[in-house]
Symmetry: C2
Subunit: 278 residues, 2 copies
């Protein structure tokens, strides 16, 4: 594991690391924010999953999350959005291949050799963070757009793993929208029945009430992708049926950009802190 960058930031440290991933079969880069030590208790971790076209640096440089993470004493971990490198399959277009891993395990060629972001995020990366940094056992997860989808499926598929989950403008029902249909066809094949285990609406519908954790979603009503790709009301309806503690906030005038994320990331950090720091 090699440190690529380190910057002092809000009395903590913003670092960028490269490591060899056995799961993804390539070299991967992640960013991490380590808050200034506040107590002898190791700090909990919030994983942040970014959206299409992003890498580990978008949230790191644009969201302004370090200020509140430093205050609260929360480690932020920002993974990349897909496997990387010359040996890794790619496609034309921003919504498939590199930068568009959709946080699942691909079963189809040419993707199956590297595109296993789900296993990477569930097993390999958390183990690496636990081994290399002074962090506590509690973790939560959040993300934006495709990364909001990632955060939601990670939480829904792993009851007990996360104290809480949140998302900005997530793809909640990839089964039913163009981004998801294109990616799932390529990564998972034509049998849409197999897609259900990577769809937040479907997963929540099959969940049990005992597995529910607090969930916060922010969605701008001026988001260009709202009608065609996002539609968080679909998940809110499932949450109502299943009595999931979902708070969906529609933010007036906000779009899909990092200006939207920056405006509300403090709320998300304080939301997670209620459960992470218990």
């Amino acid at each position: 594991m090699e440190m690529l960058e380190e910057h002092r930031c809000f009395e903590g440290w913003q670092q960028r690391w490269r490591h060899d991933s056995a799961v993804l079969n390539c070299s991967m880069t992640f960013s991490i924010f380590l808050p200034p030590p506040r107590s002898v208790t190791p700090p909990p971790v919030l994983f942040w999953l970014s959206g299409l076209t992003c890498n580990d640096e978008n949230f790191t440089t644009k969201a302004g999350a370090q200020r509140v993470a430093a205050e609260l004493g929360i480690v932020l971990v920002m993974p990349d959005t897909s496997p990387r490198g010359e040996a890794v399959a790619d496609a034309d277009g921003y919504d498939l291949g590199k930068g568009a891993g959709f946080y699942l395990n691909a079963t189809q060629q040419p993707w199956a050799a590297h595109y296993r972001m789900y296993d990477y995020l569930r097993d390999e990366l958390p183990a690496l963070i636990q081994a290399k940094f002074n962090v506590g056992p509690h973790c939560a997860i959040s993300g934006h757009s495709m990364g909001g989808h990632g955060a939601l499926i990670m939480a829904l598929k792993n009851p007990g793993r996360y104290t809480s989950v949140s998302a900005f403008a997530p793809i909640v029902n990839p089964l039913q929208v163009p981004w998801g249909q294109k990616a799932f066809t390529a990564y998972l094949g034509d049998d849409a029945a197999l897609w259900r285990e990577w769809d937040s609406c479907a997963l929540m519908l099959e969940s049990t009430e005992a597995d529910a954790i607090p969930m916060l979603i922010d969605q701008g009503d001026n988001d260009q992708f709202l009608a065609d790709q996002l539609q968080p009301a679909r998940l809110a309806e499932v949450a109502r049926q299943k009595s999931w503690p979902l708070t969906l906030r529609i933010q007036s005038g906000y779009d899909h950009s990092y200006f939207f994320i920056a405006s509300f990331i403090e709320d998300h950090l304080r939301f997670h802190a209620q459960y992470l720091l218990k």
Copy 2:
């Protein structure tokens, strides 16, 4: 004048505009943050000048300044760092030509036709902002590195114009450092006596006490450019001689990056607010 982008941000609006500059003889882009209305009094303006290689978007996306500007009711104006376009002279290297206008009026060829950032920032852009937006008469100025130099010379050369001035890691004495010597030779010619009117240390030495305004400078002690290019202690010594109200803060462990700016921009905004909002 054409709006290129608009995003809701912290209940205000982040906008990007293009306009034809008569002074620079080219099309220019600037960004502006308009805070949510707090009262019937039009808000004051803080001009932010960026450093080498930057344009209007670096501070806009990375500094996290909008949160506090929204709270305080301050308009942020982020100009570009040089004239732009195919007709504009350029040079190899990041420290001369486009992205490196040094906020002066060039007298030498091939630069003199466009490189008049000083006149643009002193006259044309403020007049445009006053005419097109609902802003009050008070303004202040801040910047980073080359833009810190720009903020300081704008304030020192225009007594009474700004309520206050601040800078992050500014080039305070370009006369004496490689970045300044290269740029001033190209833009102003070989006669170093003519450089003095663009050098903060020289300008402050010739200033009168009545013209002094509050000045805040933050400098990281882990800044890779500190020893060779910055040396803010030189300006602090002049300020001491001239009884200028300069606060120079050396921030332990911080470097030259936007992580440094993000960590302390709130202090700068609150510093300026004391004078802007009187």
